[in-house]
């Protein structure tokens, strides 16, 4: 008969491998390498910025020309001057990765694939894996401010703020004001009694729950209660609500929420979503020229958030920018040929942009061939290489895990990082 201690059991189960902690103990904030994911929802058209399609002999976007700023070759298109401005400011920190093949053409699956490496459910996405692998115990390991999130083993590592500030309302009790029936918020002292009671019950059940999930769930519940109390204690000093700018969400404002949490050691990852100009979405089956408006807005906002990032930090903690990588991506690219409606349909090759800490900037890695399919690269150098590696989302994930100081092989067997993208 096998007899295992609870600690041993937890260590064997990835889902349950939580640090055993004393309930209510304060946890130190450690200087984690953090990641902000900026998701462009709907499928961007890389030919507007990242991948000139001239090899195909196709017409580029009207008036556009291939240009180069600080080692980055890009498509300089009228109507999106913010791209050049951004690269002039942050190109040295920017690495563009082209020719990533997602191997699907539906939004739902491509979203899952670009973020997990597979179309199957039951996988955690890159930010969730990174958050779950943090060295320290974090209150909000992966903060979902906007955009997709896929999780399986580590769902509990995800904290959503809600589109209407729901997280803050729950923390403060303002949620009770959003009720047709009058709900009086409990006196804090009395409420604390209930909190302590529930916490002690979770601890007792975690100790005595027997073999199976009862004890494990109780243990996780205890952790969640601790984290909730910890976050509530600082909620007054923390802005967990993003603003809107007219008809669209404000990426810079949302990024500021993430940066606040990074600075304080509450989070390791966060995701925000760009819906493009006026939230009309990047899925331009019609009116493909609208991509220029989307990119103009995106790069303007990226410049704002990078400016914000650059200004953060302290003498003791160091510059926040030294430990934050920004990952800008979209679930798919767009077919090189215009369709009958002046737009472009889905394409299996897309691009991603890595900015900031740990990134070997000022370069473009990968590309498209004359058929608009991906070119192989040498992962070590990032150079194009016949007989090299065709880029898949798993390589992007492995690169991010390596940036986070993890062995990608522990999570993504068979995928090596693009070392050429890393400093």
């Amino acid at each position: 008969m096998t007899t295992l201690s609870r600690r041993h059991l937890l260590s064997l189960m990835p889902s349950l491998a939580l640090p055993l902690r004393g309930y209510g103990k304060p946890r130190p904030a450690a200087a984690e390498h953090c990641f902000l994911f900026v998701f462009c929802n709907g499928g961007w058209d890389p030919s507007y910025v990242f991948t000139p399609y001239q090899p195909l002999g196709l017409e580029p976007p009207t008036g556009s020309a291939v240009a180069e700023v600080g080692g980055i070759r890009f498509v300089d298109t009228p109507g999106q001057p913010a791209v050049r401005t951004f690269l002039e400011g942050w190109g040295a920190q920017t690495c563009i990765v082209n020719g990533i093949e997602v191997r699907s053409i539906t939004h739902e699956r491509c979203r899952r694939i670009i973020m997990t490496g597979t179309s199957e459910s039951g996988r955690d996405d890159w930010p969730t894996l990174l958050a779950a692998s943090a060295r320290s115990e974090l209150l909000c390991p992966h903060l979902v401010i906007g955009g997709p999130s896929f999780s399986s083993l580590y769902t509990r590592k995800i904290v959503r703020i809600g589109p209407a500030g729901q997280l803050v309302n729950l923390l403060t009790g303002d949620a009770f004001t959003m009720s047709d029936r009058t709900i009086l918020q409990p006196d804090p002292g009395v409420e604390a009694l209930g909190d302590a009671f529930v916490r002690s019950r979770a601890a007792a059940l975690a100790e005595n729950g027997g073999r199976g999930r009862e004890a494990a769930l109780a243990e996780m519940y205890g952790v969640a209660l601790d984290d909730g109390a910890g976050l509530a204690a600082v909620a007054g000093d923390l802005n967990l609500s993003a603003e809107e700018q007219g008809c669209t969400n404000d990426l810079a404002s949302e990024a500021a929420v993430a940066f606040d949490c990074f600075e304080r050691g509450f989070s390791r990852c966060a995701i925000i979503q760009s819906g493009g100009w006026c939230s009309s979405g990047w899925d331009t089956h019609q009116n493909g020229a609208q991509q220029a408006e989307h990119f103009q807005l995106l790069f303007k906002e990226l410049a704002e958030l990078m400016t914000d990032l650059d200004g953060r930090g302290s003498a003791t903690s160091g510059a926040l920018a030294d430990r934050v990588t920004v990952v800008v991506f979209s679930e798919m690219g767009r077919h090189p040929v215009l369709n009958s409606w002046g737009g472009k349909d889905h394409w299996t090759y897309t691009s991603a942009m890595l900015l900031g800490a740990g990134v070997a900037g000022g370069q473009v890695i990968g590309g498209l061939d004359s058929q608009a399919t991906g070119l192989a690269i040498d992962l070590a150098s990032g150079d194009l290489s016949e007989g090299g590696t065709d880029l898949l989302p798993g390589h992007l994930g492995a690169t991010l895990l390596a940036l986070g100081d993890h062995d990608p092989g522990d999570f993504l067997p068979g995928y090596d990082p693009i070392l050429g993208a890393l400093r």
Partner: protein
């Protein structure tokens, strides 16, 4: 869905002659490591799963005295009116139609903002309600793809072209716009969730249809254009000529062609989307260049498509797999092959109605498992959900049944929306960004539980101790003068533990509960003390799991 690849090659369609067995007897090696829940706690699990409510204390008394009555109560629960509503929520986890936004909004019908939630849920629930109705009324499950019926509530009856009888709530109705009878695949609610556009031309819908009804997920196939000439041709030309494209499109496009009665020439237009367009049925062949067909067999019209699905053996296997997954609270994996196959056989032998299948799932060792044996392999701790987490839809219905409290605000159910509410934060599925319910506690889940428990407790205590009209809901014995040591106080604690946890409280737990009440009372008053104690019990780990 590796399992389905195997299943696709095994078994056949429905057997014409029932075999006479009334239970599934699945063989599973892991079953030997499972220890079943005791009878009261198993009754609690079945009651939550099948009715979204706790069992009544007399029911708990009965099964505690005679565990053999469990199956009797389970069958009673299957006949409970709440089973139908519960099925709606269960099926929503898979069908993902309860989204917070459609291409057509409440404003398109000049509805007030306070009707936004009612509108969105009415649309999203239409196909779910139809399936739940068919299940609850013991109609053949094939009706979900063949019936001429749909379900409509007052709001849908008002805004859509349906013939709905007078009455309250969701009622069997018929569309009046000439659409063929095809069950859920003839509902607006399904296709408003799974939309299309001029490029897609119903292909996404075809993929959704095979995934939901046949567990045949076309989209898991990798799509690669490396080495092909797809990039230089237009998309439509490539689909028709490139082997890399045709591999999938030869299946998808004929299915998509059969759905053109739902093809919308204008997006975001209520009149366009609410009506079936019989005159467009033939457009599919014209636009896609293929005749309507179901995996190689020609079909003429939507009804024929429904009939073809109903005749596909995968439909039955998929139903068994779906219900097992929903009730085991986990994804189905290859190792479940034998058990799911046994469930499929039972489903068919029992006449292909849903209740016997649900009954069979509840009889599996995994459904009944409460713990693992000491010698169980460690891996089973992760795969066998011996304890399940309540998420927002379950929490909402259990709290309503136990306390009478519903958290509504300006027309929104706060535990069932994400626009203003807490559905996803509480572990629920939004049908868009979150596709499966949360399985383990997290920070926001615990916060939602806390606030919902506090609100429910305060509400029911005020009512039960307030001396108002009407019967008490939860507190049976005490009044505001009851104190620890009084017999009514002790009786109240005992009945609350029994009712809420399906467990007899030990001396220590009664003492802890009494101490909490006493501490709270010293800081406030009796009503507050009861409210604190009750809210703590409503978020006790034994309450919020099952």
């Amino acid at each position: 869905m590796n399992l389905l690849l195997l299943l696709a090659c095994a078994g056949s369609g429905p057997d014409p002659e029932p075999q006479g067995t009334d239970t599934a007897d699945p063989v599973s090696s892991s079953a030997t490591f499972m220890e079943p829940l005791d009878a009261p706690r198993l009754l609690r699990r079945m009651s939550i799963d099948l009715r979204g409510a706790l069992p009544a204390p007399p029911d708990l008394d009965a099964v505690a005295a005679d565990p053999g009555l469990l199956s009797t109560y389970r069958d009673i629960y299957l006949e409970d009116p709440r089973f139908e509503a519960r099925l709606v929520q269960l099926l929503a986890e898979r069908w993902h139609t309860q989204v917070d936004e459609f291409q057509v909004g409440h404003y398109d019908y000049r509805l007030e903002d306070t009707q936004e939630y009612a509108f969105e849920r009415a649309v999203g629930q239409e196909p779910l309600r139809l399936m739940a109705h068919i299940a609850a009324h013991d109609r053949p499950w094939t009706d979900i793809v063949t019936t001429e019926d749909t379900m409509a509530n007052e709001l849908l009856g008002e805004i859509w072209p349906v013939d709905r009888p007078e009455g309250e709530g969701w009622l069997l109705s018929r569309y009046t716009d000439g659409r063929p009878g095809a069950g859920v695949i003839g509902t607006n609610g399904l296709w408003w969730r799974y939309v299309t556009n001029p490029s897609n031309m119903n292909r996404g819908r075809a993929a959704a249809l095979t995934r939901l009804l046949l567990c045949h997920d076309i989209l898991t196939r990798p799509v690669s254009f490396a080495g092909s000439a797809v990039s230089t041709s237009g998309t439509e030309e490539a689909i028709a000529t490139e082997p890399a494209c045709k591999a999938c499109h030869s299946t998808v496009d004929p299915l998509a062609a059969s759905l053109f009665g739902f093809y919308w020439l204008t997006q975001y237009n209520a009149l366009e989307q609410e009506r079936y367009h019989p005159e467009r049925e033939l457009l599919g062949e014209d636009y896609l260049g293929v005749a309507p067909a179901f995996f190689g067999t020609p079909v003429m019209g939507l009804s024929a498509l429904g009939e073809a699905i109903a005749g596909d053996p995968r439909f039955y296997r998929c139903t068994a797999e779906t219900m097992a997954s929903l009730l085991w609270r986990r994804e189905i994996v290859l190792e479940d092959y034998t058990t799911v196959e046994a469930l499929r056989e039972t489903f068919i032998q029992e006449g292909a109605t849903l209740k016997p299948l649900v009954r069979a799932v509840t009889q599996t060792p995994e459904y009944q498992a409460g713990a693992l044996t000491p010698d169980a392999p460690v891996a089973l701790e992760q795969t066998i959900h011996t304890r399940r987490l309540m998420v927002t839809d379950q929490l909402a219905s259990v709290l309503e049944a136990a306390t009478g409290f519903t958290w509504t605000w300006e027309g929104f159910d706060q535990l069932d929306n994400d626009t203003l509410g807490f559905r996803v934060l509480g572990g629920g599925v939004d049908g868009d960004q979150v596709a499966q319910p949360q399985r383990e506690p997290g920070l926001t889940w615990a916060l939602v539980i806390k606030r919902a428990a506090q609100a429910s407790a305060a509400d029911v205590v005020a009512r039960d101790l307030g001396g108002g009209l009407g019967p008490r809901v939860l507190l049976e014995h005490v009044d505001d003068q009851s104190r620890p040591g009084d017999s009514d106080f002790q009786a109240e604690l005992a009945q609350l533990h029994w009712r809420l946890f399906a467990a007899e409280p030990g001396i220590d737990r009664l003492a802890d509960a009494t101490a909490l009440w006493t501490d709270a009372f010293q800081m406030s008053d009796a009503e507050t003390a009861w409210s604190v104690l009750l809210s703590s019990m409503l978020r006790d780990p034994e309450f919020v799991t099952y």
